[in-house]
Symmetry: C2
Subunit: 319 residues, 2 copies
Amino acid sequence: MGEQPKGIRKGRAERKASDVKADLTAVVVAVNNRDPCVLTIGQEDALPSGPFELAHRSLQSGLRVWVEQQTGQPLGYVEQLYTFADRDRIGTERVISITYLALTREEVATSSSRRRWGSWYDYFPWEDHRSGTPPVIGDVLRPRLIEWADGAADSARRLERRRRAAVAFGFDDRAWNEELALQRYELLFEARIVEEATRDGHSTALASVPGRPMVADHRRILATGIARLRSKIKYRPVVFELIPPVFTLLQLQRTVEALAGRLINKPNFRRLIEQQELVEETGETSVDTGGRPAKLYRFRHAVLDETPMAGTKLPLARA
Amino acid sequence: MGEQPKGIRKGRAERKASDVKADLTAVVVAVNNRDPCVLTIGQEDALPSGPFELAHRSLQSGLRVWVEQQTGQPLGYVEQLYTFADRDRIGTERVISITYLALTREEVATSSSRRRWGSWYDYFPWEDHRSGTPPVIGDVLRPRLIEWADGAADSARRLERRRRAAVAFGFDDRAWNEELALQRYELLFEARIVEEATRDGHSTALASVPGRPMVADHRRILATGIARLRSKIKYRPVVFELIPPVFTLLQLQRTVEALAGRLINKPNFRRLIEQQELVEETGETSVDTGGRPAKLYRFRHAVLDETPMAGTKLPLARA
DNA sequence: CCGCTTATTTTCAGCCTGAGTACAAGCGGA
DNA sequence: TCCGCTTGTACTCAGGCTGAAAATAAGCGG
């Protein structure tokens, strides 16, 4: 790896000017009791994070170190999300945030007390459609988005804004698309409907902005993680990272529903899972949960070998 | 954005230790005459790249500056690929590579002469399956991969290696999956079948390693870009960034085939394109290309608004 | 007009999907 | 004990999408 392309690196003295800090930030997700949760630390809501240092073997291992140190939570599945840089432009310092999505089972806290599990839907109340469209959309977001659209310079731009809002939130008979979580947040940010957008001191803060805000741009990072995970469960069997090794099919379904924020047709879900041979019966049945005892299953790890593209594809029920 | 989570940032003096250099690297893709090409610079094959600097407004704009400066090529569509860091561990310096995929139409070079368009398949000869499985797979890769598998410590590991090779390259009646370009390269690297893997001075270089190597880890970055693009054309209409504004359906199909490295059933491709209303007729027909004149089409930019998840889904012909 | 090339339309069977219905098995109270 | 409730499991069916192939159309050159 010694060679370097000619003419694309500057000399040492000049390079000094382009040094940056690299932050590693994690969206650690678990599902507990039908609610998808994210791990935060500190008084305010902050995602676990820390600087990338020389001592770290790699970006991922640096991330694991920080998260474990700050929260005591060991990480299982980890994947890179996105690298952000257009923030924190204070003086001559530049901070790059390399963000990760981590899936884990919510274990009881051992010692670290600064950690806290918060439901996704506290931060994004408009994202949970399991009991139908949440009222906040019609009561707050829709009117404010229309107001924002009407504030555009000319009529072409007004239409454009209305269309973007309609696509993102499923207005005007459009279908709700749970994977657009990030676009929705960015739209609300642009329209200054979320609190973070009014932190620059220039804008007037709107009363009762929906959803619990987070430190810096962490809510945006969380939205990125949610969008990625909602997309990923459809083509890779990652849900199993979030549930116990042995589970019932309904448990599995509820977990997927929690992540997707919408309900799934039960028979179709079972059919899909079984025909993909994602799971195998353990032979036992669950302790009662009110009705007929359910068969217990475990994940067939072999599927990871068989076809690298097998996934869950989600037979999502239509609104 | 002023607030910061407590306890996750170190003081200024300490932070100095974790400064890094951030490099921006681009995989610039164009398709010319049925071959997908990547833009390189310099004597050896290097992707355009340069350090992220204070003057840059954002990562993306920094990237655009470097590419245009080094190659004279203006960029259209740009998306982030991945951030790498586990390389270049020389001394106390740490370099992070933030890599991007850019799509463009291959214009004639204006002035910058250092630039060069090279076919993907010069770097990855095993990736082009448009004329059936390329001979290099059976003649070179398969035997060497088997040799590598047999070199594993115990029989479990031998099986594991064979299975991984079979999945990646479609051995033993498995289907070829064009999206696994990155896994394939990484497998060949691990098995030391590509030249880059033997650059550390410790290993013996194998004779006649397949595919043209690139500087540093640039071939890995290119493989990442190829894999991403092959996946993306199936669910987002990005192909249109690579072809002229007006085109025939066969031209469109050949472009997709060039990227995917495999052939597509013609009637099914047309049906898919039309039923998704991705294009509209211009009313004109193409100048002759030997047979019946073909209708000319243009991309319906409106689809970008209608459904953000519309894409091409590729009816790929089976081997 | 024939043979060649490429473009475009149709057909058809199989699979997957969404949606709904029916049946099974446990529990607890009337 | 029977009934109603809850949850689990099996089956059906129509529509849409897909892969594959055949048929038809339109230009060119001899």
